[in-house]
């Protein structure tokens, strides 16, 4: 109904009225969620994957991209406040509240001994994995989505104990079950001698 805005600065009016701004933000958020939902839903929408291909959830942490078997993934969430734990290895960043449960948060870079540059943005997402009776939140800067990878496309890398290999897209495929069975993950397991 408006043909000519005239000399009124509508942008400023909107801003001062505040509501439109919020609405636009909301719309942007909705769009982001819709895209993400679409991304997550993608593999299901695809033609049935061949039996031997694996579904990987891939995420970015620092300069690396990792892939974990979706069967071990319990969920993805934004990192809430982390309480640091004294007396645990540096790869455990602390614990956080996930729907009333306390989940230990792990930064794979400390575990793999990857140097960490001071970063503007700390990892803001968390992939919760579960295996061998352990449930741990792996920090990620970004969760990219799920993709099907055939085992042939995963090229083994030598001397990398917890990596099944690299994909063509240079995603490091983690052997999560092995990693979660590492004794180093259990604090006090080697020195539980008591008093």
């Amino acid at each position: 109904m408006l043909q000519k805005p005239g000399s009124i600065d509508w942008e400023a009016v909107w801003k001062s009225l505040n509501w439109d701004d919020a609405q636009r933000q909301q719309a942007a958020e909705r769009e982001r969620l819709r895209q993400r939902a679409h991304q997550y839903a993608a593999p299901a929408a695809q033609a049935p994957t061949p039996e031997d291909s694996r579904s990987l959830l891939t995420f970015t942490l620092g300069h690396e991209r990792y892939g974990v078997d979706v069967m071990l993934v319990r969920g993805v969430r934004a990192v809430a406040k982390i309480a640091r734990l004294p007396g645990v290895p540096a790869f455990y960043r602390g614990v956080t509240n996930v729907r009333g449960r306390i989940i230990t948060v792990m930064d794979l870079r400390y575990f793999f001994d990857i140097s960490i540059e001071p970063e503007a943005l700390p990892p803001g997402e968390m992939v919760i994995v579960r295996s061998n009776d352990l449930e741990i939140g792996l920090l990620a800067h970004q969760v990219n989505g799920i993709s099907a990878v055939s085992p042939a496309a995963i090229r083994p890398v030598e001397h990398m104990p917890y990596m099944a290999g690299l994909t063509d897209e240079r995603v490091i495929v983690l052997q999560m079950a092995w990693l979660l069975a590492d004794e180093r993950l259990i604090v006090g397991s080697a020195t539980s001698s008591g008093q």
Binding site: K4, L17, A83, A90, Y92, V95, L134
Partner: protein
């Protein structure tokens, strides 16, 4: 109604039989000890129970239980009829029968010959009395009397005949699940409260809009007037429409805000209701998990009786407060510690009869097991009227176990004795008996009780008796805590362990033996920095005042320096993952109302961290300071020192630094250990009995095999000639106790290795 499957039926049967067996055990004990006020009533109850058990066993087709129950019933009936006296021998036979059934319940196979022998004896006993039994069961008068005595006994609080309430059995696992769901509900409730706060924020936002609207309103009105007066301008129509829209907008927004305000009020009200209900639910479910203490007592009576017979003592076990109710989990966890304490009392505490007579004590020893609820704690006391802790014997045993050096024993204080008894491997029993005396008791007691966040203390008067007191919190999932700040993070400490919170001036700190100390109400105590212990950078720059939190455990008090004290609050504890639950200094975690996690510190661990006072763990805080955290490969250290204090101190320092530590009390022992085990470094005192440190060093350095093994000599002597002798003997380094501190020790070890 559905018919239960065989498996269901069986599992019900096992529980039922378990109850019956307990009743029989308790009843027999009452009769045997003469504790029963109405013996006939007890007998009738046992007779009834045996009868019911027989029927139940027949129903599920377990003939062995049916047979034994039949004999038991017949014997009780005969005893009721005064045809049979329950002599100690007969009681033993009855106990045997009960045990045979217990074995079946436990899934333990009864050896055929024992079973056959027991059955034969039962049959013999019954065969001789059978006619009278039948005669008795036919007497109707007995039944009316029985009802009367039931009431009478129930009033005296006897174990046997408490009136049963109508109810169903619920497995604890189901209750656990319920508790878990309730804590989820609590969190959901917190989310609801968060939404309530969102609504308030929305209202504030509206107020801001309102203010801004008011500030431009005059401009708006002016504009509207001008438009009214103006000739038809091409913009005027559009502007008028727009202004109209603004007007309606304002109405919409005001209306919306009114709704939001109403919504906020409703949400607040619902949240309050839900909150109250959830709390009620939590309390009720918590109470459902409560079981009377008496449910584990039967086993104790029997155990004490059997043990006392084994060692040929006469002992009476007195139970006080058996109706006190406590959480099933707590109760189960307390069973073992209490068992150990009772065993100790029977074995070590109570003297043999003749000795008691000689001392002028009653021949029958008395052990009391008393339970009471005191505030938010359950207090269990096991006391005996025996000989008390024998300081001399404990010192000797401690020597034998290598916990103290030979010449120190004479000066061991009462506190030292009391802390020694919890050491694994310590036993004062001269001959190791079947059940105690392996030195395994009290350390288990302490570990178990502490795992329940409780504590153990002991009072002992030589010649008059010993009392062990166990205190555990009433409710395990909630804990009253002091919230404090260390660096930039908050932690919680159980309030029960906090003995004082105070601020002192920095100049009130003095040093003793190189350690910071403070005197609080005349009592000197060490100050430890919690920052250092937890590996957290101190927050505030040096201040004139220091905030201290005094924690108490093991009859010690230590002041911990912190940054601030915040509040005391009731926390809902949550389990930590298996991967971190054993981390040092942490007893658990809890959720705050904000949904944030707070770490609950373990006061026992903190107190026992002394005297080692350095950062034990690398600081894991900021990513741009990645502390190297590769655990050092476990180096083996042999500490040779005749003083228990020094040995403990060194052991503690080195163990916290990650070393695998062994100790020897003199050169001779060290030499033997060196022959048998590989070590990476030896730390030895100079002056020791048998073989001194210098001699030990010479031997090591002259040994072809051990020649390369680094030796550090540690001594309180500061005479230069001693120092020279040490280096001449081949020692790699020499540390004086007067200069001794742990950083120095670790540095020197690093240097020589």
């Amino acid at each position: 109604m559905t018919t239960p499957s065989d498996a269901d039926l069986l599992s019900i049967f096992w529980v039922e039989v378990g109850d019956y067996l307990q009743t029989l055990n308790n009843g027999l004990l009452q009769i045997e000890t003469g504790a029963a006020e109405n013996e006939a009533a007890v007998l009738r109850e046992m007779n009834r129970v045996a009868h019911s058990m027989k029927g139940a066993a027949r129903a599920v087709g377990i003939s062995i239980i049916e047979t034994i129950a039949h004999y038991l019933e017949a014997i009780f009936a005969a005893a009721l009829n005064d045809r049979l006296a329950l002599t100690p021998n007969l009681c033993d036979l009855l106990y045997d029968g009960i045990d045979l059934i217990q074995n079946v319940v436990n899934g333990v196979e009864n050896p055929t010959e024992i079973l056959a022998a027991a059955l034969a004896r039962l049959e013999q006993t019954v065969a001789a009395r059978a006619p009278e039994t039948r005669q008795h069961t036919a007497r109707p008068a007995a039944d009316s009397r029985r009802a009367a005595s039931t009431v009478e006994l129930a009033e005296t609080g006897t174990l046997l005949l408490r009136p049963a309430e109508d109810g169903v059995r619920v497995p604890v696992s189901k209750l656990d699940r319920l508790s878990g769901e309730i804590s989820e509900l609590l969190v959901t409730k917190m989310h609801g409260e968060e939404r309530q706060r969102d609504l308030y924020r929305l209202q504030r936002l509206h107020h801001r809009w309102q203010r801004e609207w008011r500030s431009v309103r005059t401009a708006y009105i002016r504009l509207a007037r001008r438009l009214q007066n103006q000739a038809r301008d091409e913009n005027a129509a559009d502007l008028a429409a727009l202004l109209e829209f603004l007007e309606t907008n304002q109405h919409y927004l005001t209306e919306t805000n009114r709704h939001i305000a109403q919504l906020a009020r409703d949400v607040a009200q619902y949240n309050a209701q839900v909150g109250a209900l959830v709390e009620q639910l939590q309390d009720d479910v918590g109470r459902m998990r409560l079981v009377p203490f008496e449910s584990i007592l039967g086993g104790f009576q029997r155990m004490v009786r059997d043990l006392a017979r084994d060692v040929g003592k006469s002992i009476y076990l007195d139970l006080v407060g058996s109706t006190v109710e406590l959480d099933k989990t707590t109760l189960d966890a307390l069973r073992e510690p209490i068992m150990h304490l009772l065993r100790n009392a029977v074995d070590h505490g109570i003297e043999p009869g003749p000795e008691r007579t000689r001392l002028g004590k009653p021949e029958t020893g008395r052990i009391q097991l008393a339970v009471e609820q005191r505030g938010k704690e359950i207090v269990v006391r096991v006391s005996d009227d025996g000989r008390g802790l024998d300081a001399e014997k404990i010192s000797r045993a401690a020597q034998a176990a290598g916990l103290v050096g030979p010449q120190e024993s004479v000066v061991l204080s009462e506190e030292e004795i009391h802390s020694l008894i919890y050491q694994p491997g310590l036993t004062t029993s001269e001959n190791v008996t079947r059940l105690s005396g392996r030195g395994m008791g009290l350390d288990i007691v302490r570990t178990r009780v502490e795992s329940l966040r409780g504590r153990v203390s002991v009072q002992s008067i030589p010649g008059q008796g010993t009392t062990f007191t166990l205190s555990v919190p009433l409710v395990l999932s909630r804990l009253s805590c002091v919230v404090l700040q260390v660096g930039d993070q908050n932690f919680a400490v159980p309030s029960a362990r906090v003995s004082r919170m105070l601020k002192i001036r920095r100049d009130q700190v003095f040093t003793a033996e190189g350690r910071d100390m403070v005197q609080i109400h005349g009592q000197p105590m060490p100050i430890l920095s919690l920052h250092a212990l937890l590996g957290i950078a101190p927050a505030a720059p040096d201040d004139d005042e220091i905030t201290l939190l005094v924690l108490a455990a093991d009859e010690r008090q230590i002041a911990f320096q912190i940054d601030a004290l915040h509040s005391e609050q009731e926390l809902v504890l949550k389990p930590l993952g298996r991967e971190v639950e054993n981390a040092h200094y942490i007893s658990g975690a809890a959720l705050l109302g904000s949904g944030d996690v707070i770490i609950v510190l373990d006061a026992n661990d903190l107190i026992r961290s002394t005297p080692a006072a350095a950062p034990v763990f690398p600081h894991t805080a900021d990513p741009d300071d990645p502390a190297p955290n590769a655990p050092p490969s476990r180096r083996r250290v042999l500490i040779v020192d005749d003083s228990i204090t020094t040995r403990t101190l060194e052991k503690h320092i080195l163990e916290t630094a990650g070393f695998d530590v062994s100790v020897a009390i003199d050169g001779v022992e060290a030499w033997t250990m060196l022959a048998e085990n590989a070590f990476d470094v030896v730390i030895a005192d100079v002056e020791m009995p048998n073989m001194d440190g210098l001699e030990l060093t010479r031997r090591i350095k002259n040994d072809g095999h051990l020649g390369q093994l680094p030796v550090i000599l540690l001594t309180s002597l500061s005479r230069p000639e001693q120092r020279e002798a040490g280096l001449k003997a081949g020692a790699d380094a020499y540390v004086m106790k007067s200069q001794f501190d742990q950083a120095e020790l670790l540095r020197i070890i690093q240097a020589v290795m």
